[in-house]
Amino acid sequence: MASALVLLLLFWLAKNAQVEGFAYFMNIALIGVTLGAVYALVALGYTLVYGILELINFAHGDVFMMGGMISATMIISVFNLGAHNSTFSVVAAVAVSLLVAMAGCGLLNATIERIAYRPLRHAPRLAPLITAIGMSFVLEDIAILWKHPSYVQTPSVLPHGNVFSISGVTYTWEKLIVVLITIPVLLALVWLVQRTRQGKAMRATAQDREAAAMMGINVNRTISFTFALAGALAGAGGLLYALYFNEIRYDTGYKLGLIAFTAAVLGGIGNLPGAVLGALVIGFIQAFNEGLTWHSPGSDWTESIVFSILILILVFRPSGLLGEQTPEGG
């Protein structure tokens, strides 16, 4: 049954490639990679937090949205960027905005854990889930008060020129920049979890909290650090979203958060490479669904498709593509 579906999917992709031409198909695939990169940064936050607390931080998508709002503020009000700026000043401004968004969201997410989850550490599992939803509303309301309910438009400051254009396959600088910011962030995360003392403490806490405490690990501090890390990744995602899509609203994080959560579950919740893989798969699905034309459901159906996938995974393969794991990297 599953393999029949996969075959059908491959046939649909091949037929589309034939109908549209290979170059067009590849261009759509490159959009998928870009979307996947943004989703990956958010999906990792769900998976990191789940790995250590077995809690779905439903406010995480809204932390991402706040990252976008912080970035928009930096780009518009602090640096006043526009088409007139030199490349150097854009790079410097984006770098500073990235750091501010990551730091701001890291602090925000750690604060959410401190006030909404830690007091309920020993309460029934449903309780922190409800406070998570509550925090989600609080963040959205803060965003409405801060930025009003309408879209915040951010200037299109990334260069739109081509990195390459080979027989119709074109790759633009703005897409490359999204990937260029994502990859070092992911590598830094892998290094941190696998090689550092703090990463060791995270892995131990994820596997057995009490045993970790007996080893001399400050469990509360480790959990705070994990939330800060997840928030920082969401902050980076928020900046990329603001730069690439150029508009963001108080409820942007709600929808994108659910999609990223689906990506994390698809890859195997708690599994770091799984989150990245799941995000890329969802990115491709969205790009193909919205870009291809031969019997494609179209953009109205993207969310229905993504959440149908969520239902199918939860029913048929709850441990995801790569299996459930805690943040060890697998």
């Binding site: 009490e210 080893m215 060890e328």
Partner: protein, 242 residues
């Protein structure tokens, strides 16, 4: 050794609760420098809770715990190990997806002397050659006996002054039980004081110098281990005699 020397560990009248349920009703015990002290008693008597009170996972509501003259009643678990108390917990509680070697390294998490850590890893491997063979294997895939060795080794990696062992023989084949108890004696000879919780009272009383019998959250009886092993009630209740 002078009789007047202050004990290494002094537990005085602790009362510990799980929520509203009182598990300990005033437990007092001492471990002196260089001793093996055993805590025996039926299931639910409060043996593990006593260890959890000492290591900081469940702070007692009343009473006090003093280690090397310092009050540790309210000290959090991650600081207790820094003071020199390490534990091999009930059920071993290894990190299942880390290798044997990584588990041992976790035991030395709060230390920073690399040379000393390597020395201690060698020492653990000398005590348990089996662990050296399995050092790259994930701890979750070890047999029960090997896991117990790994848990004891991990506790030793903290270079504790006091080693607490919770049910080290539970669920093990007799050959492993003998090996574990030999090691306990060996570790003690190397200078580590030991507080041993055991269901296997017979074995525990053979290696210990003193023992405490816990019953429903209080110390029912305490004596030299040899005396306890002769005690009529103890023999009936815990040594399987009728």
């Amino acid at each position: 050794m002078t009789a007047a020397a202050a004990p290494l560990l002094e537990v005085d009248g602790i009362e510990t609760f799980y929520g509203s349920i009182q598990a300990l009703r005033g437990v007092s015990l001492q471990v002196r420098e260089g001793e093996i002290v055993t805590l025996i008693g039926a299931n639910g008597a409060g043996k593990s809770t006593t260890l959890r009170s000492i290591n900081g996972l469940n702070h007692p509501r009343r009473g006090s715990i003093t280690f090397e003259g310092q009050d540790i009643t309210e000290t959090p678990a991650h600081d207790v190990v820094k003071l020199g108390i390490a534990q091999s917990p009930e059920g071993r509680r290894l990190f299942p997806r880390m290798t044997v070697l990584e588990n041992l390294e976790m035991g030395a998490f709060q230390r920073s002397d690399r040379a000393g850590m390597q020395e201690d890893i060698d020492r653990v491997f000398a005590l348990f050659p089996r662990l050296a063979e399995r050092k790259s294997q994930k701890a979750g895939t070890l047999s029960g006996g090997e896991q117990q060795m790994c848990a004891i080794g991990r506790a030793l990696m903290a270079r504790p002054r006091l080693l607490m062992l919770d049910e080290p023989s539970m669920g093990l084949a007799p050959i492993f039980v003998d090996r574990i108890f030999e090691t306990i004696v060996e570790v003690n000879k190397q200078g580590t004081s030991i507080l041993l919780v055991e269901q296997n009272a017979l074995m525990a009383l053979q290696v210990a110098s003193r023992g405490y019998v816990l019953e429903t959250g209080t110390v029912a009886l305490t004596d030299d281990a040899a005396q306890l092993a002769q005690n009529e009630d103890v023999r009936k209740a815990y040594l399987g005699e009728s």
